[in-house]
Symmetry: C2
Subunit: 264 residues, 2 copies
């Protein structure tokens, strides 16, 4: 086994998400990273080459693809003796909605925050589900930027935070999220630090590592709104994690789909 | 009956509070207006001269004084064959606490508002009861100026209101308060407009009219925090009412206690 093979295997171990290795979710991350365009296609063989090294059996990939087709995320076609997969329009929309936040290297924390308060009941539920709002207390929602339409029945304040108590910090950033962020930060640093000077990875190998990184980072960054620093608990290493994630991704440039789909 | 007597009787009818003529509450207003100092005393006879023209029987005055003594507001002493009444220290403190708001001719609306939000439960109840906070929604309280101590467990925002929906306006200013304010505004204007050019009221008569005005105004102004204009519903005539109340009070200068207590 070469030093490169050893490093690649150990990188997979480090980068595998200890919390979530659901194959359908990994495939979503993979398409989002490598094949989000309307004409982008990935062959079944390429998918297997990228995902199988994560210790996922081909049968599990087939099951996951079946589920993604059923849920309207992915469509598949026959091409000669092999199959070819692509995101549906729905899948691309879902993917595009989160791409800016996942790949933002230097997110600007909004300066203009507002608070919407309802009289009671479920008036804020729609807002909290469909817009980028943060629930605070029982009948208030914190957001930034433009106020959505149809909020006439809510109290609206422009706000500047002056105190964020522990209960809100740990609701926004619970211990498992702090831990997920720290462990990802450590993992990408280890993988980068142990990288051999000479490295000649295949396109599929690059895709395997990118998919693992993006998948795990996605599950940290999307749980966490871009709030001012005072909203975060001590021990939160979000900025450090982001820097390390992109430092490693930059050493693994996105491979061309043609290289990925080329028979091995 | 002279023109003056006719006007005096009609003023009493106009100024009597249609909602609350509870005698103990009228006596509280009377002491607050005319005898709030620690050495101020009002004789039983003077009280009767001031209050009886409001169509209150002497027996009702005695009952009210009994209640105020029992509740610790008023103390009474014998002085020869008559009794003399004064506010207790508790009564003076209660009275002094609301005097600035009642007699403020030009209240400044605070510019610096903040919102406190609790996790849930009754964390805000103490604040809403003992401090000058306004409940908004189920777990938020709006206040101005310095934040009380022991609020570390609450989310604290500096806020500027941008939308106040109808439900909050009518909670802050329910229809009966709008009506009470409008009818007081109309009453004091009518009384002032119909005032005879030549007027020679006794000290007790001046006190009767002042007490009625202050009593009714107190019950409007204290229900209503000094919020920015956008918090008030259409039809709210608070500013108009205040102007009219002081315009009439200014025609009825506060009589000396010695004049009130002098045997008729």
């Amino acid at each position: 086994m070469t030093a490169q093979d050893q490093w690649f295997d150990s990188a997979i171990t480090h980068l595998a998400d200890p919390q979530n290795q659901r194959v359908w979710s990994i495939i979503v991350s993979l398409f989002g990273d490598l094949a989000q365009g309307p004409d982008d296609r990935i062959s079944g063989a390429a998918l297997t080459r990228i995902i199988q090294p994560m210790h996922v059996k081909p049968e599990a990939i087939r099951v996951a693809l079946h589920r993604l087709r059923k849920d309207g995320w992915v469509d598949s076609a026959r091409s000669g003796r092999s199959s070819v997969h692509h995101l549906t329009e729905f899948g691309r929309m879902q993917s595009a909605a989160v791409t800016p936040r996942i790949y933002d290297r230097d997110p600007k924390v909004p300066q203009d925050w507002h608070l919407l308060i309802s009289e009671g009941g479920g008036a804020l539920d729609d807002l909290l589900l469909t817009e980028n709002y943060i629930s605070i207390g029982r009948s208030a929602a914190l957001g930034s930027g433009a106020v959505p339409p149809n909020c006439d029945d809510l109290v609206l304040f422009d706000v500047t935070a002056r105190n964020v108590p522990g209960w809100l910090k740990s609701r926004l950033c619970p211990p498992d999220l702090i831990e997920a962020c720290s462990s990802l930060s450590d993992a990408v640093k280890t993988v980068r630090d142990t990288r051999p000077a000479e490295l000649d990875l295949t396109a599929a190998q690059v895709a395997t590592l990118r998919t693992l990184i993006v998948h795990r980072w996605r599950r940290v960054v999307l749980r966490n709104p871009d709030l001012p620093p005072m909203f975060f608990p001590d021990g939160w290493r979000g900025g450090d994690c982001r820097t390390s994630v992109f430092a490693l991704l930059d050493t693994l440039p996105k491979p061309e789909l043609s290289a990925l789909n080329a028979p091995a």
